[in-house]
Every structure is written in C-alpha cells, then in structure tokens.
Symmetry: C2
Subunit: 222 residues, 2 copies
C-alpha cells in the first residue's frame, strides 16, 4: 500500500510537472506571437517589452522568465520564423520527381503563403534584414542561395531558355521575390497566389526552355 | 561723396548678407547629407542628432537653428530625395518622342543611378517607407503609379505582348524594381546598370509586343 501511495504521488507530481511545462511552452508561444505583432507594428527599436507581455496576456515578470531582454525576444522570433520558412522551402524543393524550375516556383508559393498567413514568419523575415538586431540568421541570403542553386541545376539540365544566362535569371527572380516580400509587409495582397502568378506569368516563359515550359503551369503547386 | 559712401556701405552690407545666406545654405546642405548618412547607418529611430551635427562639422546649436527636431530633419531628407528622384523620373518619362516602354526602362535606369550615387536619395527613399517617420511623401506609391501609368499607355497603344495583361506587367515591374531598391540598400551592385539590364533582359521581351521590342534595347538609355 505504501508502494501504491508512492506511485500515486509520483504520478501526481509527474502530471503537475508536465502541466507546468505545457503552460510554460504555451506562454512562450504566446510571447513569441505577441512580439512578432509588436515588432511588425512598431519595428524593433520602438517595440516595448511591456506591450509584448501585455499582448500575450502575461506579466512583465513572466516575459523575463523566458527572455533576458528585447534582443533575446527578437532572436527567438527570427529563429522560429527561420525554422518555419526553411521547412516550407524544403518541402517544395526536396522533390527529386520535379524539375528545378517547378521546385523554384513551388517554393516561392509556399514561402509567400507562409509569410502571408504567419505574423511570426513575416516579422522574423523583416527582423533578419534589420541592422538594429542582427543575428546569424540571414533569411534573404538563404533565399538567394536557394534560387541560385535551383537555377544552376536548371542550367546544367538545359532547362533555361537560350539568351538568358543563369545570372540574368537569378537577378530577376531574386529581385521580384524580394520585392513581393517587402511590398507584402504593408499590403498582404502582394503575397497572394494571384499576384505571384502574375509575376511568374511574365518571368517564367522567358526563363524556361520551350520544352520545359509545358510542364510548368504558372500557378500554385499541386 | 556722402552718396558714394552710402552706396559703399549698402554694397558691403548686401555682400555680407549674401555671404551669410550662402553659408547658411551650405550648412543646411551639409546637415541634410550627414543626416542621410546617419539614417542609412542606424535607421531613423536610433539616429542621434549629435552624430548628424558632428558629421556636418557644425555644433548641435547650428543644427537646431535649421531643424526643430529629428522628425524635421527626416522630413527634409525625404523632401530633398523626392525632388531629386522625381526630377530623374520626369527627365526620362517626359519624352513624347519615345514609346512608353522605353520611357519606363529609361526611368528605371535613371532612378537606380540616382539611388546608387546619392545617399540623400537612398536614405529618403528608405525613410518614406518607415512607419516611424511617416510624412506625406510616399515614393513607393509614386513609383507604382508611374509604372501603372506607362503600362496603361503601352496597353492602349498595343505595345504589350499577347497573353500579358497590364496587371501582370505592373505587378512584375513593381516587384522587381522594388526588390532592386531594397537589395541595393545593403549592396549597391543591385542598383548597377548591369544588374538592371539582367532584369530587363528577362522581363522586357515578355512584356513587349514583337514589333515594339526591336525598338527597346535592354540597356541604359542613350
């Protein structure tokens, strides 16, 4: 019976610990989301920690339990955004059954949708270009490398149209997609599948060799 | 002789006033340029007035003689940038002898060059998109209206290629040029004529009707 009681106590304590961890995780998520909203509204420098904790429905003390200072909050927003955006890009680009131009357009739709729907992705993406809170995360550089890699593969497989160099293609795609991301910060319509399709409808037929194009419907990936 | 002396005194006073005005104008120019450099380095919120006056080689008091506060400095940087960029765009677009697509590409080269060469244009352009110091100047909106106007004219004159709507064309050109402007803030190479030509080489042949294209060399305007 003594054993039973011990087990019961253990179970009760374990349950309480799990509950506490869950609550802590929930608070942390709420803080990251609130921080993203505040960073998006005011920018990094003017964002106030009190507004972030209030937005998450917790005390300033609870925020400080999770984050040492504003830089730590911003670094976490960037890290969470990076994880979310990298996952979206990976899902689209790691498809050996699809050709590289199709993977490129699929990745652009996936990233735009993530940015449009998710304030943490959007705020983190913006923070990673803000010299006031530089971290090691540089999402712009990661995207440029991704575009360059896929277009290099397309060039190697003779999928690029004649008269268009890999450098021309990379500059165009990077410029257009970077523009959409920045314009989408103030007007989410720029990140809609419809707008992205407008841009690909102009760009893609010039990038792709005639044979490749028939397999590349300019529209959201299936 | 009394008259001669009077005239001499008038001349001397007039000369001193002109000299004083010239010096004030020179100081004001130096302050605007230094402010642009400081805004570009630190962003609006973190920019310090003492660094701006020091950069112009004047005292903080001299800065306050010209500008009431940081918002007034930023508003002036934006106004000077707007004037400079509008002049560059006007020179390119007010050419009734050239077709609207050629005027569009010419304007893009002129604006990119202005942004690349002139720190005030660059800083003012960036400030006009910064919610921390909104003024009535919205250079992004002006450029979008300019692109839209020229492409509307091109569509009306049957210069757009079949299969490309005016909305497709506008979205592509606005996205790509906005991207170049933003990328050029950290790497001026994105604003070079070479990079712009890469982008136009991909975009233009898809925008222009076959007949129009032969008259549209994708390169800096003559």
């Amino acid at each position: 019976m003594g054993i039973d009681i011990d087990i019961d106590i253990d179970k009760a304590t374990g349950g309480a610990t799990v509950l506490k961890q869950e609550r802590a995780l929930h608070t942390r998520h709420a803080l990251v989301r609130s921080a993203a909203e505040v960073f998006e509204r005011h920018g990094y420098v003017r964002a106030k920690l009190t507004e972030i904790s209030a937005g998450a429905g917790v005390s300033p003390g609870a925020l400080h339990f999770h984050f040492e200072n504003k830089a730590a909050v911003a670094a976490t927003v960037q890290a969470v955004a990076a994880e979310s955006l990298r996952r979206a890009a990976r899902t689209a680009t790691r498809r050996p059954d699809l050709d590289p131009l199709r993977r490129l357009t699929d990745a652009s739709y996936a990233l735009a949708e993530r940015l449009r729907q998710d304030v943490v992705a959007r705020a983190g993406s913006r923070l990673s270009g803000d010299e006031a809170c530089r971290t090691e995360v540089d999402l712009g550089a990661e995207w440029r490398a991704c575009v360059h890699g896929l277009l290099t593969e397309a060039a190697a497989r003779d999928l690029l149209a004649g008269g268009v160099s890999r450098a021309d293609a990379t500059a165009s795609v990077v410029a257009a997609t970077t523009g959409l991301e920045v314009l989408g910060r103030t007007d989410p319509e720029w990140l809609s599948p419809e707008t992205l399709t407008r841009v690909w409808r102009v760009t893609l037929p010039r990038l792709a060799a005639p044979g490749a194009l028939s397999r590349l419907p300019p529209g959201p990936g299936a």
